[in-house]
């Protein structure tokens, strides 16, 4: 008994966005909100001596991109409410102040299982992030759970 939906949705790019440049302040604030103490993320002078030759963002900063609107509008609603079911992050290159990030989003998978709260529908959005140099920065698989 397979879940009923238009399978041609899978693999479709539904969004491509370029974001304003990442700022130093943004990186420092994000690191502080997590209590990061690693000078690579918190201290410009020390980070300059480190492996990246300057300040870089904590690896999960990339999850900020389009944090407000991450599901495509044309996708059928499988449940009443949506929750973040999980994330898988592949990190390819560090994010530095001044980077202009572009994210291309694809519907990667849709499936169903049952859990503590009943039937759960999972929509997996794959987000591929590159920087202004065309380098691959990260791939984020975002499992959105609807019930």
């Amino acid at each position: 008994m397979a879940l009923e939906f238009d399978r041609s949705l899978i693999g479709q790019v539904f969004d491509e966005t370029s974001f304003p440049p990442v700022t130093k302040e943004e990186i420092l604030e994000f690191a502080a909100a997590l209590g990061e103490k690693n000078p690579l993320y918190t201290d410009e002078a020390q980070a300059a001596q480190g492996p990246y030759g300057g300040l870089v963002a904590p690896p999960t900063l990339v999850t900020k991109l389009r944090a407000k609107k991450f599901t495509p509008e044309h996708l059928p609603k499988f449940g009443k409410v949506g929750f973040d079911g999980g994330r898988d992050l592949e990190i390819h290159a560090p994010i530095r102040p001044g980077d202009v990030l572009t994210m291309v989003s694809t519907i990667h998978d849709i499936y169903e299982k049952t859990g503590r709260t009943g039937s759960m529908y999972f929509i997996v959005i794959r987000n591929e992030v590159t920087n202004q140099k065309g380098e691959k920065v990260a791939v984020i698989d975002h499992r959105i759970m609807q019930r």
Binding site: K68, F83, G86, E90
Partner: protein, 139 residues
């Protein structure tokens, strides 16, 4: 902060845990910083309107805290991959315990696989996941 080399770690090593009282203000600060200032992450009433028992921490905040545990353990560990499953909403205003362990050392590319998880005082594991970290070598 310490620097650990590939040669310094062993399969079975536990990552130094972080025991944290997760305050509502800390969650709000994260939500503000991360562009996620929505009712479910900022106030109890807004969260209840969505059927939640009280305000919750964003899943990605738990993920970020688990990444921080890795960075506290070894500032030279570069996270290549981190994956987390948000099994239960993380409720602030109580203790959370971030824990982890090195489960596999991979000689070929000097990486280590780690289990990472967040549990409450009762040992309920609200967030579980794994991370692949690249480590410097002495050679």
């Amino acid at each position: 902060m310490s620097t650990l080399y590939f040669e310094d770690i062993e399969e079975g090593d536990e990552l130094p845990p972080i025991d944290l009282f997760l305050s509502k203000d800390q969650v709000r600060q994260y939500a503000r910083t991360a562009g996620m200032y929505f009712p479910r992450f900022t106030d109890d009433e807004g969260a209840r309107a969505e059927g939640l028992p009280s305000m919750i921490a964003p899943g990605v905040m738990s993920m970020g805290l688990l990444a921080r545990m890795i960075s506290d353990w070894n500032q030279a560990a570069a996270i290549k991959r981190i994956g987390t499953t948000f099994r239960s909403p993380v409720l602030p205003d109580r203790n959370v315990h971030l824990r982890g362990a090195v489960t596999q050392k991979i000689e070929a590319d000097h990486t280590a696989e780690c289990d990472i998880w967040l549990e409450n005082d009762d040992g309920e594991r609200w967030v579980i996941g794994t991370a692949t970290v690249a480590l410097p070598t002495k050679a």
